[in-house]
Symmetry: C2
Subunit: 232 residues, 2 copies
DNA sequence: ACCTGAACACCGTTCAAGT
DNA sequence: ACCTGAACACCGTTCAAGT
């Protein structure tokens, strides 16, 4: 009844899912291929049948996470399309917070969906009236803007002794000398734990939705103005 | 003549310099505390007298790299001050390209210079006329904008088999089906190796200065408009 | 105070061997 | 084709010991 050779118990997709689970559980810094294999009940080296390296596995995980980011076309409304793209990217990263640093910082070069993303951005810029001479710089601007917010929002806080670190930071924030930093002292109640550098709760537990919305509008308004200017 | 106990041959500053040298030579992914110790001619464990962990050493390296980023005050010209801040940040990261991902993605919470940075940004926003209710979101927007560009520009390309990877990407770019990606196909000559996702030369060897300049102007113009709008 | 030295519990990856 | 199994060359970190 049993076959001569068992059908493979593994698959690339299966491994990627296990990797995403490990990532969610232990974070990027403590992510290990051996743990993924353990979770799957196979030898570490079995993974190498499907992926050439640990990095390739992580790249595949990034590609998986990024699948739903490119929005459907919105003919005639480039601002809405961009807004949607930015929002989807952030949501995709919120589902896999530990991937944000990877995608933002180094993985933007692998997946095959990437060409669709490029095409979408170029079409949005064209619709906005961007002249050909400005297409490279504004395309690059959009890509940076796309990754920037979620990368910082979801950045991991120090992994070792997080409570101790949080207390230290709060103490230092309380002790800020108002004479040296008047604006900071004045706005501290608004900023504390709600803003970069002055926060101790990670972004996945304390979303920065309002700031994200403002950020998106700043970028879009800036693009519109820069395009108008480039057209002369 | 020789003292009873030799004065320490090491120092935190000395170790940080060795770490920066190692980083420049081998990159972040292959950075190891043991190599730093080897370069200094001491046992790996000697480093632990000065730093509690590898991560703390890297944080110190980031703080070192970030020292010169906060510009002197520019009373009455917040746009100039911001432009200078962005430029200095990028230049600091260009001096230590392998730190860009760290600083951008996770280390924005340690150094003591940080409070000066926060104060400067808040004062710039105040000068721009930002109302108090919008200060948090626009402060966060500025911080993201600050780190975003250099983080992506200097992102490392795949460490394993970089030439093979570069050739693959170039091949895939050449094979882009113009029917599926018309805008991409049309602008490809401009974009190839000069834009994110479509480049195979790393940003430290091929700077993206024009795109950076455009990016900065987009952000500043967007801030100005958003502030004007927030004032009603 | 500052560093040596040994040891622990891990890694990613290679290669040969099994089925 | 797909996985086991052993082995290699590393890691970061802890702890005790030296001076």
């Amino acid at each position: 009844m049993t076959r001569k050779a068992a059908r493979p118990g593994l698959s690339a997709e299966h491994i990627v899912e296990a990797a995403l689970a490990q990532l969610a559980e232990r974070g990027l810094e403590r992510f290990s291929l051996r743990d993924v294999a353990r979770a799957l009940g196979v030898y570490p080296t079995a993974v190498y049948w499907y992926f050439r390296s640990r990095n390739e596995l992580l790249a595949a995980a990034c590609a998986h996470a990024l699948r739903p980011v490119v929005p459907p076309p919105r003919p005639g409304d480039w601002q809405r399309w961009l807004r949607e793209l930015f929002t989807r990217y952030r949501q995709a990263m919120r589902r896999h917070p530990h991937l944000a640093q990877l995608v933002g910082a180094q993985m933007l070069s692998n997946a095959s969906l990437d060409f669709a993303l490029v095409e979408g951005i170029l079409q949005a810029l064209a619709q906005a009236g961007c002249p050909d001479e400005a297409i490279v710089e504004l395309y690059n601007t959009v890509v940076v803007a796309l990754c920037g917010f979620a990368t910082l929002e979801l950045a991991p806080l120090p992994a070792e002794d997080p409570e101790g670190w949080a207390e230290d930071l709060q103490q230092r924030v309380r002790d800020i000398p108002a004479a040296d930093y008047p604006a900071l002292a004045r706005h501290l109640p608004r900023l504390a734990d709600r803003s970069f550098i002055l926060r101790w709760t990670p972004g996945d537990r304390r979303p920065m939705a309002r700031s994200f919305a403002a950020y998106v509008e700043v970028v879009i308004a800036g693009l519109a103005q820069r395009i108008a200017q480039a057209r002369g």
